[in-house]
Assembly symmetry: C2
């Protein structure tokens, strides 16, 4: 076994999920993630925690959902499982990233709706989502398999403690600041962050961070004004999207266009009222991610990038009891800030051409 | 997909587990059983039941158990899952039937002991165990993969209703009878069945039968006297065993030998007091199983065979509230009754050279 598989398992169990003796752990294993699952099971055994493995197969979900009449129940056994669990680890890694492509949208939505309490119970655990490098993910990234495995381990096997210290500097600036301004080619955007708390997303539940890899600092902006252009190409809802421009006034999108995929953007923005407002401003700081792979788990964490999401805001960024922007969607779009770009907080330049002022 | 995979799924869901709308189903999927699991998920979706899939991997169990210090907890999340579940379906099918061979016996036992309540909760569901034909199982049977798949489907895709009617005839004889006598080469054995109830094991929870395939009638004998020879070779605890002879007096083994594996037999018989008494008499009646494959799920159901188990008796065979033979083991051994053999109930021949008197 590649020794990096064991290192990945240890980062996941110890740094990310903080697993200890007696913890009740649910481990979801993708069909091609077996190897990492074995290493994670070994590490969980060493820590003396309790293990149940579930099988996370898109093909099984597709077969089940398509065959069902669409009037889904809440699965009380699965709810009981997650209500009793302390930790939920999800290892993605299937054989086809489009495995559920032909499930009708309304079926998918009905299935999601029946599982609202289940999702909440899962979010109440110390949950962490990661991926095992698979042929299918390598293909999506236009990379050879070995090359892709190197890419994944460079992103995952960081010195997270030191990256967390680095990211804390940006978090402090954002927490103290009132207004962020982004300037770049096709971009001049201001947004308020007054009263909001940034998350130092250091790939650990100890930092309110639930992705491995992570490596971003994010907050929940509002009162957005101006224009932003997302020059990083991506796949949204199965369609290619390029060079999206959004125009904001008083917090809301008042105009948009795209070189490709404009109809997808329109569909997203029309989902509900909240879909026309920002839910997230995120700054990628993981320099182990050195290229785009059309996978949001990695792309949005890449150094020299900034992303904004329309739709739902994360609770961790909001004052206790306050609700932020609400929406059924949360769609991230990314802009490259390595050239001709800067980010200001309250008029002070914090990042210029990807480099932070303290670097 | 081989159409027999869908037929297998339908037999499992409808005939065996009697799944209906709203049932909470746990489906355990072996690493190489994905294809059958997809078909089962589709059928469960059609029936409107709720599905959680777990991953039944010997390699994960091995890694976990070997890494653990051996002081296992009861996994309360898994217990909550099975206490809330209506149905448990297990689809065996790994990549190596010896995947857990190097887990120390005491670790295995400690793990089992910590999971006693869990096992009971699982046995309180409508549970059914089956296998998907895999390369690994074909290899264990010394068969080509396609040949093995044909073998499995011949055993599984029976007219179960009509086999149940057939087996009911034997069950009635056993329920009315007091004493069974087996006679054959190296065998002349009598045992009492007075007051015991035979199970018509027709591969359905409706018949107290939890294996697919099944196709046997079994009961819980006692007061055994005489000698029995098991001429069907098999693997017990990873070792080959051949031509075991047991001598009984007043219900207990007083002597034994074997052409091969005598030490394994000795170890089994010395487990505890109950291991020296019979727990089961079973008569194989599945004529779709036409050969031995060194897999007890199939071998003991084969027509023209009779098996006896030393150790634990099944509750379904006992009068309400009565405990039968108790033991930590239940080890089946098989004898071929196709030639020079007969079974008598209260002095009347019921089966001769494999043929029942009503055939």
């Amino acid at each position: 076994m590649d020794p990096r598989v064991h290192e990945h398992a240890e980062v996941l169990v110890d740094w990310s999920a903080r697993i200890e003796a007696g913890d009740d752990v649910v481990l979801s294993v993708g069909p091609d993630a077996h190897e990492l699952a074995v290493a994670v099971a070994e590490t969980i055994g060493e820590r003396g925690a309790n293990l149940l493995t579930t099988y996370g197969s898109g093909e099984i979900e597709r077969a089940y959902q398509r065959a069902h009449d669409g009037d889904f129940d809440e699965p009380s056994h699965e709810l009981a499982l997650f209500e009793a669990a302390d930790v939920y680890l999800r290892i993605g890694g299937g054989r086809n990233t489009s495995a559920t492509a032909d499930v009708p949208a309304e079926t998918r939505q009905a299935y999601r709706n029946a599982r609202t309490n289940l999702r909440e119970a899962r979010y109440d655990t110390r949950w962490v989502s990661t991926v095992h490098p698979t042929r299918s993910l390598a293909q999506q990234a236009n990379m050879a398999y070995e090359e892709y495995a190197d890419f994944v381990y460079d992103a995952v096997l960081r010195d997270w403690e030191s990256l967390a210290d680095e990211m804390a500097k940006l978090k402090d600036r954002l927490d103290e600041g009132s207004e962020v301004r982004l300037v770049g080619p096709g971009t001049d955007l201001t947004m308020s962050i007054e009263g909001r708390t940034a998350v130092n997303s250091a790939a650990s539940v100890a930092y309110d961070s639930h992705n491995l890899p992570s490596g971003e600092v994010f907050t929940a902006p509002y009162d957005t004004d101006g224009q932003v252009t997302f020059d990083v190409p991506m796949t949204l809802q199965g369609q290619s999207v390029r060079d999206v421009t959004l125009n904001f006034e008083a917090g809301e999108v008042i105009g948009f266009d795209a070189a490709e995929g404009e109809d997808v953007i329109e569909e997203i923005l029309e989902t509900d009222e909240g879909a026309r407002r920002l839910g997230e401003l995120g700054i990628g700081m993981n320099r182990g991610i050195d290229r785009l792979t059309d996978n949001i788990l990695f792309d949005e964490k890449m150094g020299d990038t900034v992303h904004l999401a329309v739709g739902r805001a994360y609770d961790a960024c909001l004052p206790d009891g306050e609700t932020g922007n609400e929406s059924a969607v949360h769609v991230d779009m990314i802009t490259d800030v390595s050239e001709d770009s800067r980010m200001e907080i309250d008029g002070e330049v914090v990042q210029e051409n990807g480099t932070f002022v303290w670097e």
